[in-house]
Symmetry: C2
Subunit: 164 residues, 2 copies
DNA sequence: AATGGGCTGTTATCATATAACACTTGACTG
DNA sequence: CAGTCAAGTGTTATATGATAACAGCCCATT
């Protein structure tokens, strides 16, 4: 197994502002390509989701928007932006947390697999064929046709293990 | 790959009342063993969860209880029973559906992996080492210590593929 | 019978998500 | 260049899922 399929390891010290600007640039491009509108609101929501590598709740985003705008946005505003970003593959939803996180490689459509640290709350996105294949084989053995995968692993990231 | 690890294939025609009674008997035994109380309420909730092989929402259970009792139970009543059943490993929670399903093999602690049909809504519980191992290996490669797994696959079951 | 812990009832509230309808904007059409 | 329409956003209300806090009950042990 190589590291090639590990989309991001947010614990490596990194210039996070670059993560954000790269994500926004990529989003801009992909939306242009797809012929859909990357509006100001959608961009702001994506930027907020990317403010960290931790999954963010819709209402957290709402609050952040409210702080910027001081005119309080309503839930549908945020959910619509998130729905758009999900459709475009720019964010993922983490079902076990009811939260959203920026997609690390939006240029190819996929559903991520996530390692979620219960201590620091960081989510590491994977895209491991080995996991997908194991699931596919099990599904095939009962004739089940896979359409979507939710793989969310909780535990402790390397850094938090050391801290503990 | 054998079928040995497939906990249940609810599509095989079967006497479902036997599923229920077996599940209740097993629960009774396991609770006795663990020295915890398998109260009437807990038993009723478990029975309701087992009424089908489809994940059931907490509020559905609530309604069913209300129909039986005609005195309307409140949410905490159901959630407490479900929390108990989860702790004892008698039911699983399906995060992607906010729903609960009876555990097919409560005698050994595990978190199930689920194949969920989007058409008939049946959930097939698996317990596949191959999936677990693939996840473990990926996690290990970034030094992540796995504690819990959420593996929920959506798609079409064999029967619903034929129907379509 | 006393008593104390675990279980359940009850009320209120929080958290997450969506329905429905009105208004705005911006891209195409003629 | 104005008209028009679809997509996007605002706004209000509400659905859906889950928990906090406290009161009262039951029953196992003494």
């Amino acid at each position: 197994m190589t590291d090639a399929f590990i989309q991001i390891d947010p614990h490596h010290p990194h210039d996070h502002s670059q993560c954000v600007s790269e994500a926004l640039d990529a989003a801009e491009q992909l939306c242009a390509q797809a012929g859909v509108r990357f509006t100001v609101l959608r961009k702001r929501v994506l930027e907020l989701v990317w403010q960290s590598h931790k999954p963010l709740g819709a209402y957290d985003i709402l609050e952040a928007l409210a702080r910027e705008d001081d005119r309080r946005a309503a839930p549908p505003t945020v959910y619509r932006a998130l729905d758009f970003l999900l459709e475009q593959g720019l964010v993922h939803r983490i079902a076990s947390l009811n939260a959203f996180i920026g997609c690390a490689s939006p240029e190819h459509r996929h559903e991520g697999q996530f390692l979620i640290c219960r201590s620091c709350r960081i989510a590491i996105e994977l895209d491991q064929p080995a996991i997908r294949d194991a699931i596919g084989a099990s599904a095939a053995s009962v004739g089940f046709a896979v359409e979507g995968e939710t793989v969310e692993i909780t535990g402790l990231c390397a850094q938090c293990q050391v801290a503990a």
